[in-house]
């Protein structure tokens, strides 16, 4: 390079060198954001908008209605059915997939194309009511974890059985059992799984009187099995306790599998455990499968249980295992999905694994591969697989209903809805939706679906999905702000939690609650809104488990971040009056764990880390607290 040119470069560098980098981009903020995101890989984009860059958004939200518009005008190229899931004949085949992936990587250099997950959210299906109340003995009701799919439970950091609170403490190595009987709030016991270096989440099987702690196993301290020697991925363990007497929990058994924790579900008395296992170049050898095949309870997953990817490329697995709560020391079945790193959506009878291949090359579109594995009473059965153009924003954008799978995808500059049968044959679609916008949130509720897209103006679309061969956009509503979480709230109502934007549509200036009147899906209305000024983000935007929403009890609870710290809000929705803020209280726990609101009868417990604060749901006054 010429000297003169070098000088110009130097000049440019010098002149920019003292520009301050915004607070949100400092390594500390970024680490914090990624840690938060890491907890739940999903909905990153929303979090980014809601939290990190809350101050600079350009968003308005709306909903469209095209009657009889946009029908199947496609040639079928967007969904490519790839037949049934194939399993490996031998480990060598698996090994080749990894080597192919390496070769592919070399082709594009150390960077270039990348396989990514992104889209990892989960959703909540919605039949009329996803309310989470449940009656116990004396008519006492208590809240349950807000889940994606009714009937499929999910783990969380706080659970209750209507009397005891089970709380994952700071440091994530112990679960506290706190008695709330009468007017007390007392820690009775701690559950401290042996050989666990970390507890991620727990399950409560209230009927079976069991608690399952999902842990990362400390392989350093535990006797290391031969198989684990080659496992750089760590091992997760599900440790089950008998809590017939919650004050004297007894371990009933444990199962373990290679990999880092991905997610889990519990349905019909079975636990389904998902972990991610990366294949690393380090010391792997074709003739030593233990160097590249994950193990379950110390035994390598059999060839016939390894599902091959749609392209013969892979750099890791998602390992899935089922465990009966009747025999929590045994694994019923295991499968390993050979792939990169995808996401899962679990319906009432199928596990859908979806993985997006991102293209940073501007001319090719990202594609998402989709695989279906059915499950029933712990038994898995490989099903269809397909590839779809575009990406799935989160698990609320993929939904099974009456033997059809509906998928809402963003494809480059546009969006589409596909309806597939269980063999992934496309039965209907709507394409070319909302050009230049992308999906922000979705809720597919039986025969009708709703989704919010985003750019400068954000419509909330209503889709008639009652005829799988003929999905139709039937409604559109345009409103300022946007919802990034949608929750059915009783007959004809849909609750949206998101952000408001100022009149110029330039800045997100507060968390916004919206109640949509969806009694006529072709004419959705904004029935009421409530804006929490100066609340710059809420966990609800990216973690649905942080939402407490119960229409039976008429309670909407979530935490929000303000300049002064984090607050917990409780709302009621009154016909005619709209949203009524019943409570706004500071959250005092100081921890990396997210806050949760849980109620038992007439008491709300706001829990963050080791701090529990109890509020009366009659006076909305603090009645008790406890520091664990």
């Amino acid at each position: 390079m010429l000297n003169q040119e070098q000088n110009v470069i130097e000049k440019l560098r010098k002149k920019s060198s003292d520009i301050q980098v915004p607070e949100n981009l400092t390594p500390e903020s970024v680490q914090h954001m990624l840690e938060k995101k890491g907890k739940k890989k999903r909905n990153v984009r929303v979090y980014r908008i809601g939290g990190v860059i809350a101050a600079c958004l350009v968003l308005v939200c709306g909903v469209f209605i095209y009657k009889n518009g946009y029908l199947n005008q496609k040639t079928g190229s967007e969904v490519r059915k790839v037949g049934q899931i194939k399993t490996a004949d031998d480990y060598e085949e698996v090994y080749e997939c990894y080597r192919n992936w390496e070769k592919e990587l070399e082709k594009v250099g150390a960077y270039g194309t990348a396989t990514a997950e992104d889209a990892a959210m989960e959703k909540t299906e919605t039949m009329a009511d996803t309310g989470s109340a449940r009656d116990v003995d004396g008519g006492m009701s208590y809240s349950r974890t807000n889940v994606r799919q009714e009937g499929v439970d999910e783990g969380d950091i706080v659970k209750t059985d209507g009397r005891y609170l089970y709380i994952l403490k700071n440091g994530q190595t112990e679960i506290s059992v706190v008695d709330t009987m009468g007017d007390q709030l007392e820690s009775r016991q701690t559950i401290n799984p042996e050989d666990a270096s970390l507890i991620y989440e727990m399950y409560l099987d209230v009927e079976g009187k069991k608690l399952v702690a999902i842990c990362e196993r400390d392989n350093g301290r535990a006797a290391v099995e031969e198989m684990d020697m080659y496992n750089h991925n760590g091992t997760i363990e599900a440790v089950t306790y008998d809590i017939s007497n919650p004050e004297k929990p007894e371990e009933l058994g444990r199962v373990r599998q290679s990999g880092s924790y991905d997610s889990s579900r519990m349905a019909d008395g079975y636990l389904y455990l998902f972990s991610n296992y990366d294949i690393t170049d380090n010391g792997i050898a074709k003739d030593r499968p233990e160097t590249y095949v994950p193990a379950v309870n110390g035994e390598l997953i059999a060839e016939k249980d390894i599902c091959l990817p749609t392209e013969q490329l892979a750099c890791g697995y998602t390992v899935l295992t089922s465990v009966s709560m009747e025999a929590p020391d045994k694994v019923c079945e295991s499968k390993a999905i050979l792939s990169g790193s995808g996401q899962i959506y679990v319906s009432n009878s199928n596990i859908y694994y979806y993985e997006t291949t991102w293209n940073y090359n501007e001319n090719t579109m990202e594609t998402t591969s989709l695989q279906r594995i059915s499950y029933q009473n712990g038994v898995f059965q490989g099903g269809a697989q397909a590839t779809i153009n575009g990406y799935i924003h989160d698990s609320f954008c993929i939904d099974e209903y009456k033997d059809h799978l509906r998928v809402v995808v963003t494809q480059g500059d546009t969006n589409a809805v596909y309806v597939l049968d269980m063999e992934f044959e496309e039965t209907g679609s709507i394409t070319e939706l909302a050009k230049d916008e992308r999906i922000y949130s979705a809720r597919l509720m039986g025969d009708t679906g709703y989704f919010v897209t985003f750019r400068e103006t954000d419509p909330l679309f209503s889709v008639d999905l009652s005829d799988p061969e003929n999905p139709e956009i039937i409604g559109e509503l345009k409103i300022p702000g946007f919802s990034d979480y949608l929750h059915p709230y009783g007959e004809g109502k849909l609750l949206g939690i998101g952000m408001n934007v100022d009149e110029k549509g330039m800045m997100a200036d507060g968390v916004k609650l919206t109640m949509f009147d969806i009694s006529d899906p072709s004419d959705v209305k904004e029935e009421d809104t409530y804006i929490l000024k100066n609340v710059f983000s809420t966990d609800a935007s990216y973690d649905y488990k942080a939402v407490l929403a119960d229409v039976g009890k008429n309670i909407i609870g979530f935490s929000g971040y303000t300049d002064g710290g984090q607050n917990y809000y409780i709302f009621e929705y009154q016909e005619g009056k709209g949203f009524v803020c019943k409570m706004e209280e500071e959250i005092n726990g100081n921890t990396s764990l997210a806050a949760r609101g849980v109620y038992i009868d007439q008491v709300l417990y706001v829990i963050q880390g080791n701090v529990i604060e109890a509020y009366s749901l009659e006076e909305y006054k603090k009645v008790r607290d406890l520091i664990l």
Partner: protein, 164 residues
């Protein structure tokens, strides 16, 4: 490679000012710059398993960031055709001055970038803030190294006139 948020932040710490300054020169204001850097960080973190070596982190994330900027610029140019109509330097100058407070960059640096084509902006940005040579940039932008050299040279001489 496997990487947690902490490791990621450590690698990021080495280069984040460069990333931000790079974005600032390409995007229209500091908000956009912040936005694209965040997006690059998230993409990079999600795809970290496809990165083979720690050493490649910098050029890898710069590539991701360049692609995001490219996409945004392309979109912006489709939307804001009015910008193309602002041919005269005077208008450009005034437009620039208007939102300087939002921008953070010295006015002359900003103007110097304004007169470049998108591709030139990327090449100069990567030279100045990434410290990359022409063949590295050629790799990142999938161009021929000779093309990069001649474009860089032309861009720099244009910029020289504007820089104070």
């Amino acid at each position: 490679m496997r990487c947690d948020a902490k490791t990621f932040a450590q690698m990021y710490e080495q280069i984040y000012t460069d990333l931000y300054h790079f974005a600032l020169c390409l995007m229209k204001d500091s908000h956009e710059a912040e936005d694209v850097v965040s997006e690059a960080v998230i993409s990079a973190y999600e795809n970290i398993h496809s990165l083979r070596k720690k050493e490649a982190f910098k050029s890898w994330i710069f590539t991701i960031l360049s692609n995001i900027c490219k996409k945004r610029l392309k979109k912006a140019s489709r939307e804001n055709t009015y910008l193309e109509n602002m041919n005269s330097e005077k208008e450009l100058y005034e437009k620039t001055r208007m939102d300087e407070s939002d921008y953070g960059l010295a006015l002359d640096v900003r103007n110097a970038f304004f007169i470049l084509s998108e591709e030139e902006q990327l090449i100069i940005g990567l030279s100045v803030f990434g410290g990359y040579n022409s063949s590295e940039i050629a790799d990142m932008l999938k161009l021929n190294a000779n093309t990069v050299r001649s474009k860089r040279s032309r861009a720099l001489s244009k910029m020289e006139c504007v820089l104070k």
